[in-house]
């Protein structure tokens, strides 16, 4: 079964089409990157797939469940780390993680075990009792992802997870994401070429709400005739721009 499947998925606002007739399939256990400039439709796509926004038309499925007809069932098997850091400021790291366990109805034993597992995975032991508002951007982002992961999602959406982070914090977060590869399906949105290149199994280049190109890094290089993701991206974007204009 595909982890994600969209059919002609479209989101239209009053004057703008954010996502246009998107056809996409993501395999289970894959780390799939949606790469694009700001306003390309990446976040809107993730919002529709995580039941945070209703599509204008088309369909989308997560692990075979319809985001439109069965949003509650979809919400049981997904989680998201939004673009902006989404943590409770006055709660400690431990309490933030416990909050999510409570929402998912974990027993006391499971809550303790899962919190310890996340604290170990994200090396958060030294900040476990620190209030979130006192944490650096990197720690906050780690906590945000840990909060998404603690619910044991089948599909994890990471919306611009390293936005605004310095290079060390970004590398630190990459190593955590790499550890998750293959264990769950991850949909990563980013506009950092290096990030997509480093982490993703497959990359979809989104331009103006549509997928301009999709494939592994080598497939994209072959398609564009360029070396490296950045050069390939530029070549594909230019070609797409000419096609759209012509």
């Amino acid at each position: 079964m595909n982890a994600i499947e969209t059919k002609k998925l479209t989101k239209r606002y009053k004057t703008k089409t954010a996502v246009s007739e998107l056809d996409l399939t993501v395999n289970e256990g894959e780390l799939f990157a949606l790469l694009g400039v700001n306003g390309a439709g990446k976040t809107t796509t993730v919002r529709m797939l995580s039941c945070l926004s209703e599509p204008t038309s088309g369909e989308c499925f997560v692990c075979g469940k319809s985001c439109i007809k069965e949003p509650q069932a979809v919400k049981e098997i997904i989680d998201i780390s939004p673009q902006d850091t989404a943590v409770a400021d006055n709660l400690t790291v431990f309490e933030n993680l416990r909050l999510i366990c409570g929402i998912y109805g974990y027993s006391k034993e499971k809550t303790s075990a899962k919190i310890e597992e996340m604290i170990k995975l994200f090396n958060m032991d030294k900040v476990r009792n620190s209030r979130s508002k006192t944490l650096s951007g990197g720690w906050k982002r780690k906590l945000s992802i840990a909060m998404a992961l603690i619910s044991e999602p089948k599909v994890l959406f990471l919306d611009e997870p390293t936005l605004g982070l310095d290079v060390l914090a970004r590398r630190d977060l990459w190593s955590v994401v790499e550890e998750l590869k293959g264990k769950i399906t991850i949909i990563l949105t980013t506009h950092h070429m290096e990030e997509a290149e480093h982490l993703a199994d497959r990359i979809a280049i989104m331009l103006e709400g549509q997928i301009a190109a999709l494939g592994t890094l080598s497939e994209l290089e072959e398609l564009s005739g360029k070396q490296g993701l950045e050069e390939s991206f530029v070549a594909i974007a230019e070609k797409y721009g000419k096609k759209a204009a012509g």
């Binding site: 995580s50 997904i78 989404a86 709660l91």
Partner: protein, 255 residues
């Protein structure tokens, strides 16, 4: 229920860890209690003005304090709505009812704690001022203020849902000022009479204050239950309205 408990606990912790909640929800009403008692001491007995005597003042200040619970409820919700935290929770299996109950419950608990502290301090002030106050009456007054608590938390839910964190406090300030004034906390509305009393009678604030004062005095004559019923009626209407608005807004946010 797990979802509600977890979310309510988070909201409660967020409030009690915010220093502003102590300043506004406790500090300000208690300061007013002491200041108005001092004002009362300066009023000559022949003026016959008993509005600021501690046995009258306690119920009014308890009501006044609850208006700040409204302010904090609205601020909490508006702040959550402006950030990404609520977006994250929208993607969990939580339903609108879980959010509503998760906001209302801790604010209700906070309101009860605040009222109890206000009456305890009032009792201490009454001992100092040499005015007799019945502890049982104050306990009953906490219960008599329950409809007002529901009313204020519901107003908070409504304003926090409809307005952002800049606009909501402004609107709440109007209710705080109007509510305490037209509730007869700061003046003798019945003694004034006329159109002003008519306006007071139409709104729930005066009835909420009256019910608390009568309960404090263990005066359960017919009017007490009328005051209580009018406040409860308003509370129910505003509660239903706030729930409907929150659900609609959440639905619109997910469009």
């Amino acid at each position: 229920m797990n979802k509600i408990n977890a979310f309510a606990k988070r909201n409660f912790l967020e409030i009690i860890r915010d220093p502003l909640s102590y300043i506004f929800c406790l500090g300000f009403p208690l300061i007013m209690l002491v200041v108005m008692t001092l004002v009362n001491e300066s009023i000559p007995p022949e003026a016959g003005m008993t509005n600021f005597r501690i046995d009258n003042l306690a119920g009014g200040i308890a009501f006044f304090g609850l208006t700040f619970v409204m302010l904090f409820t609205s601020l909490s919700i508006a702040k959550d709505r402006s950030g990404a935290f609520l977006v994250r929770l929208y993607a969990t299996p939580m339903k609108s009812g879980d959010f509503i109950a998760g906001y209302i419950l801790p604010m209700g608990i906070l309101a009860v704690i605040q009222s109890i502290i206000t009456f305890v301090v009032s009792y201490i002030v009454s001992l100092v001022a040499g005015v007799s106050m019945n502890p049982l009456g104050m306990l009953v007054a906490v219960f008599a203020l329950l409809p007002t608590m529901v009313l204020m938390v519901s107003f908070g839910l409504l304003f926090g849902t409809l307005f952002n964190e800049k606009a909501a406090p402004g609107l709440c300030s109007i209710i705080i000022s109007l509510g305490s004034f037209l509730g007869g906390v700061w003046f003798d509305a019945e003694g004034t009479g006329g159109v002003l009393l008519d306006i007071c009678n139409v709104l729930p604030f005066f009835h909420g204050v009256k019910a608390a004062r009568m309960a404090c005095a263990l005066d359960f004559s017919g009017d007490f239950f009328i005051h209580l019923a009018i406040t409860a009626g308003y509370a129910l209407v505003v509660l239903i309205l706030s729930i409907v608005v929150f659900k609609n807004k959440m639905h619109a946010d997910l469009k």
